[in-house]
Subunit: 457 residues, 2 copies
């Protein structure tokens, strides 16, 4: 009898080792299955070629809604449904045009894309002198004396010496987000902004700008970085250089759209919900492969991977494809509102909205602030697959409203060096996506979700 | 007096903190300078557009040698010189052609590229039945009975479930490296191999194959992965499917080439040498942007970064651009031989030969085997720039001969998911290189070299 009990201490040790081994085996299975049989890339090809330009209010977006329901339904899942969401409806209208007029009266087209929420010029455009600025502070300092009747040109570039793309984007982005409103307050007639990218090329990058409710929207467009440099050079040579701008955008009444949700019901805690998601909408001028087609197809792939591996989540697992992230966030707000009203409670929500590039890690946001430290205990499972960075961060715009409601949120953190080459442009196409990188991201999401589901966070 | 000595313990503490701060400041300066003002990308653009197809024995390679001397000389450096190297001279000749003949006699071209060292077919080609195999073992088992007079078709793909590209490449590569020789020993008249890539497309990937001195070279070509699948499907439908192969390659007498070296003389230990390098040659069908133009321009950039930051290396710092890595390694062997003969001694040599992708870390090879553990003490300096992985590895082919002579060697470890999409193909072009990723790699090399130079490894 005694010899039996002599080795009793081995039992918890062996159990721990076995558990650790199961952990590793399952995480590795997610990655191997995604790399060998991932369907995300093919789904992304269909989404971006059949439903490009998925702007809130567009037919393309609602076509994508139907595609998403069909694709989720085919996995199959326990439930596929939509949530009705009223979304802002802004349209670009006829193609914009920005022309640099030299002193001899010759016109040189400058590659440009109107910003979301831009106002319109008169039908045959407007012509004015240009004031180049590098910051909102500079605009406010110049005031009506210098700005009234002018076109304000924001030309502070994204800082190339900053490592993370999203950080440099955030630092330079106030020019696009708030610049037109600040310029309008100073009496400017239009705004041009340098595209938010590190690349030097002739591809304009659109994006949202915001006017306060009491202020009229003025015409605003982003110039390609090459066009911005040409305009700056022209102004340096002749401060009275004029530019002609024609933008035909219009704001329409809010339109109906939809979040799309696919669900596998939890086997033990069906009233506790884990969300993995991305946003289904995109800007109008882009097929939106990286932004955020990648997040959409990766989220669908997470549920497919659970099915392929024969795994039943203990908690209810939802793939949520949000509408209207780009210019309103109404999908995310609606989802969080309905989440408060439903009987279940959300325990974790992760978003992929930084492109389909090789995943480096995850970033976590929570009201307690230390979820990233707890998740870092799983780091050893992810390092063989290239992920190592478990940091504090903001997760993703669409899961932000859930964090405000107390849910721990996260975001997939991919390599960020290429994202802003394509972000919000016509060149964010399927060819810019590498299938292996995309599928590694999907596997990473699935593995983290599985770990949270089986062990908690 | 006593109170002065009470705080004496602070001195080493503050000195350590100051030292750590200097370390971080300098490493960050390398990265900021490379990201903001890196010249590697422009150098790569010139190298790949003016000197594509830099195969050993070609005029293009010797043109690149002249370009490299000029580019290094312009930095400026203390010394720029070349080493004479006799290199093997194989030429592809007129374009190869591989045709799938169906039972009705129709020809379907299969995208193909002759392998380096391939023999030639008769001038108007040869036609034979095809035996598909998945391994060298299978070829040896089949023997003359099944192989004599046939074309052997190696069709085992790179394993998609393996994370690291180089690992999957190594596992599948024996088919290309040794398959034709094994097939020739069995009486095969020619060999076709599936291109070594994860991509499914119509781009053939060349590469070297080796015949033992006593064996005649038979014609051997790599098929694009799509062509390989088409051939496999045809064979499954009709095992007597025939293929026509025409390859006009020829082996010429060895030709003169050159390693190119740029040097900054060490301020304290000029007879101790640190090498950073890449290989200047490429396959003939490719501009060689990632393989290995990236390593070449990153190595040049390391010396530019030292100059730009006003840093004088304590040891002699050499940028070594090796010739003939792709099909002979004669440049590396010659360099190591001359290194043994010169008065100085090498203390560290690092190569970049895995593409200009975002750097993830470094791999170290040494006879003691623990250099990666010692280098890992610097990990905290690199993590803000995306590098984290300090592992044991093989460094790079060109610094391998130095390791055999007792030198600690290393290689830059970039993200590996895209490399084999372009490796040894016509599509390894400048457009596939992201300037930020390339410059991050250059900065990483420079920072590690500086740390080894100032602290030892």
């Amino acid at each position: 009898m005694r010899s039996v009990f002599r080795f009793a201490w081995l039992i918890p040790v062996l159990a721990t080792l076995a558990h650790a081994q199961t952990e590793k085996v399952t995480v590795d299975r997610f990655f191997a299955e995604a790399l060998a049989h991932g369907q995300a890339y093919e789904n992304l090809r269909v989404l971006t070629t059949q439903h490009p330009g998925r702007l809130a209010g567009s037919q393309s977006l609602e076509g994508a809604v139907v595609w998403a329901q069909k694709t989720l339904g085919a996995l199959p899942l326990d439930r596929v449904y939509t949530q009705d969401v009223m979304v802002p409806h802004w349209e670009r209208g006829a193609p914009e045009s920005v022309l640099l007029l030299d002193s001899a009266g010759h016109c040189q087209p400058l590659a440009a894309a109107a910003l979301g929420n831009s106002g319109a010029t008169p039908a045959d455009g407007l012509t004015a002198e240009v004031v180049e600025v590098k910051s909102l502070a500079e605009v406010r300092a110049l005031g009506r004396t210098r700005l009234a009747g002018k076109i304000v040109f924001f030309n502070r570039p994204m800082n190339p010496a900053v490592f993370r793309g999203m950080t440099a984007y955030g630092e330079a982005g106030d020019q696009r987000n708030q610049g037109p409103a600040a310029a309008a307050a100073g009496g400017a007639v239009a705004v041009l902004t340098r595209s938010l990218t590190h690349a030097l090329d002739d591809v304009p990058h659109t994006g949202n700008t915001r006017f306060p409710p009491e202020s009229a929207a003025i015409p605003a467009a982003a110039l390609s970085t090459l066009a911005a440099d040409r305009l700056a050079a022209a102004l340096a040579a002749d401060p009275h250089t004029r530019v002609h701008v024609a933008i035909h955008a219009r704001k329409l009444p809010d339109a109906p759209s939809h979040n799309v949700i696919g669900e596998i019901r939890g086997s033990e805690f069906p009233d506790q919900i884990i969300v993995v998601g991305g946003h289904l909408d995109s800007w109008d001028i882009t097929p939106g492969a990286h932004d955020d087609g990648a997040g959409v197809v990766q989220s669908i792939e997470v549920l497919r991977l659970f099915r392929a591996l024969g795994l039943k989540p203990r908690h209810t697992l939802r793939c949520v494809l949000f509408t209207n992230e780009e210019n309103g966030l109404r999908g995310a707000v609606r989802y969080a509102q309905l989440a408060r009203e439903e009987p279940g409670r959300h325990i974790f929500a992760i978003e992929s909205d930084n492109g389909g590039f090789a995943p480096n890690g995850f970033n976590f946001g929570s009201t307690q602030g230390d979820a990233h430290l707890r998740a870092a205990r799983w780091r050893g499972l992810f390092e063989p697959w290239g992920l190592w960075n478990f940091s504090k961060g903001s997760g993703g715009a669409d899961v932000g409203p859930l964090m405000l409601a107390g849910v721990t949120i996260a975001g997939l953190t991919p390599d960020s060096q290429r994202y802003f080459d394509y972000h919000h442009t016509a060149i964010d196409t399927i060819e810019k996506v590498n299938p292996r990188e995309l599928h590694l991201g999907a596997a990473a999401l699935a593995a983290l979700v599985w770990l949270v589901d089986t062990q908690g966070l």
